[in-house]
């Protein structure tokens, strides 16, 4: 057994909404029901569950147990993954591990957050209150402002290139019925450039909007999938994860990210290189993060992201389809479950179920995660996963 002996046999997603009036457990129940209907599994056959972290679940140190109890799941493996926006893809990697190790056979990966309507983050134990909060460094926009200014200083920054990425993603959310309605209006490059500054040079249209939503996957061994006739499935073939890239350094080049080592590992395991990638589903909390990941994953050289963006077409029919559901920036960020949006879209495309936004080349897809806002570095965790349809 190995990671590629494990298969994703079903995916599900709720609509992403600005503020839900539904309980988070009700949304999770909707995902579970949908996954059972799609895959034909009985509820009792699910023997593992892995949750992504959740602002709604924050403060409950027993989040995965409590959630499993609400859904009346009896499990041989149960945990929450807490690496921020990397948690959904990290949860899939851990599902592969648990199945590969023989701890369980069929895992529910469940990603849900209702952060917009119910955040329960009371007094998180962190260095934030001592070293970040006193300076008004209150969240991701300030972090990406500092990062962008530094990128601009080192390499120059063509805001038209960033605008092009924003417009391409927005075009995709217009085609995605599950994207947040408020965001399903086309934008132009000038709309992006003229949107108001939040934390210079971060603009409104650089940024995600916190929303509510849920998604999930059913993961089982490939052998089990075959036995049950679930031939349409997706197989992870490469994974890399890095938390606290350059943690020991005092002065870090913030234009370089943990996707460099995580990507190298994922590509080596998959036996692929950047130019082999058929569609790209990077974690997108801010537009510049997409461009930085293109550089770190070897689509272009470090510092050459703007040129690469300007010479490629990122629409679903283009040279490198990008976040074909709109990404989080244009579909809405379902709190800490938001990474599920990029991941589920990649799986959907490889299932060939992209509908109006189906990509032509479904040989593979690359998904990433970004998690955590540290002090003096860009972000805390980076993950990269490469997947293929069942060969």
């Amino acid at each position: 057994m190995a990671m590629h002996d494990v298969a994703v046999v079903g995916y599900a997603e709720t609509k992403i909404v600005e503020k839900t009036d539904r309980d988070i457990w009700e949304m999770q129940a909707e995902i579970l029901e949908s996954l059972l209907e799609k895959t034909g599994f009985e509820k009792g056959e699910i023997d593992g569950m892995i949750l992504s972290s959740s602002m709604t679940g924050a403060g409950n140190a027993f989040w995965s147990q409590t959630t499993a109890d609400q859904l009346a799941l009896e499990l041989d493996f149960c945990q929450t993954v807490d690496i921020g926006g990397c948690s959904p893809t990290g949860a899939l990697a851990r599902a592969c591990m648990a199945i590969d190790a023989g701890f369980c056979t069929t895992v529910l990966c469940l990603y849900a957050d209702t952060q917009a309507s119910e955040a329960n983050r009371q007094r998180p134990r962190s260095y934030f209150g001592e070293w970040q909060q006193p300076h008004g460094y209150l969240g991701p926009p300030a972090a990406f402002g500092l990062l962008s200014k530094r990128y601009e200083h080192q390499f120059g920054l063509d805001y038209r290139a960033l605008a092009k990425l924003a417009v391409a993603q927005r075009g995709h959310s217009v085609l995605n019925d599950l994207a947040c309605e408020k965001l399903r209006k086309p934008i132009t490059e000038d709309d992006y450039l003229n949107s108001r500054m939040i934390a210079d040079p971060i603009r409104l249209l650089d940024s995600v909007m916190v929303c509510d939503g849920a998604s999930g996957l059913i993961v089982t061994s490939k052998k089990n999938a075959e036995k049950r006739g679930l031939n349409k499935c997706v197989v992870p073939i490469g994974y890399g994860e890095r938390t606290n890239y350059r943690a020991r350094d005092n002065i870090v080049d913030v234009t370089e990210t943990g996707h460099l080592p995580a990507g190298a590992r994922a590509f080596a395991q998959a036996g692929l290189k950047a130019s082999d990638i058929a569609s790209f589903h990077p974690y997108d909390d801010f537009i510049i993060a997409i461009m930085m990941q293109l550089e770190m994953l070897g689509f272009c050289k470090h510092g050459h992201g703007c040129d690469f963006v300007k010479s490629n077409d990122f629409t679903h029919t283009g040279s490198l389809p990008l976040n074909t559901g709109g990404g989080q920036i244009s579909a809405g960020q379902a709190g800490l479950a938001g990474g599920g949006t990029n991941l589920i879209e990649a799986v959907r495309q490889l299932f060939g179920e992209g509908g109006k936004r189906q990509v032509k080349n479904t040989k593979n897809a690359l998904v990433t995660g970004i998690g955590g806002i540290p002090y003096g570095r860009n972000w805390a965790s980076s993950v990269v996963m490469i997947m293929t349809p069942n060969a």
Binding site: Y127, G129, E130, W131, Q132, P134, H135, G136, Y137, L138, P141, A142, G145, L146, L147, S148, K149, R150, H153, R196, M197, I198, A199, D200, I202, A247, R248, N250, I251, V252, V254, Y375, G376
Partner: protein
């Protein structure tokens, strides 16, 4: 050009310290900047941690430094939350101290025209209600 504010009027609570960072805040009472120093690797480190970032050993010294350095990067916060709401726009800067560590802070006595990456800065200590001070920066003209 919009005037950039200095955040000195923000009602900040005293900062909660930890067993291994208390010395930093105690020194700030006398407007002294002390930084952790790892004698084994001859390196400074900030913010304070319970052990050396490089070796994991807990034997760390505190050394007083000038607090002079240069702007590594900056942003202008234009929309924030309490207690900063209404005090925008203000600078958040990352400063590379001459001793080789990056330190975050706000800027006083600095307008947009003067701000740039590489600008030389020196400390400005903003008083907090418990007698400690918060490290900020100002141009070292």
């Amino acid at each position: 050009m919009t005037a950039i504010k200095d955040t000195l009027d923000v009602k900040r609570e005293p900062v909660p310290s930890r067993t291994f960072s208390k010395a930093y805040w105690d020194a700030s009472r006398e407007k002294k900047l002390i930084i952790q120093y790892d004698a084994r690797t001859k390196r400074y480190q900030h913010f304070p941690r319970p052990a050396s970032k490089v070796t994991g050993h807990r034997a760390l010294e505190w050394r007083e430094v000038s607090g002079k350095g240069e702007i590594f990067s900056y942003t202008i916060a234009r929309r924030t939350r309490e207690p900063f709401a209404g005090h925008e726009p203000f600078f958040i800067v990352m400063v590379t101290l001459d001793e080789g560590v990056n330190v975050m802070g706000n800027m006083v006595h600095c307008d947009l025209a003067e701000m740039k990456i590489g600008l030389r800065v020196k400390p400005y200590w903003a008083p907090l209600s418990n007698g400690t001070h918060l490290l900020m920066f100002q141009p070292d003209r």
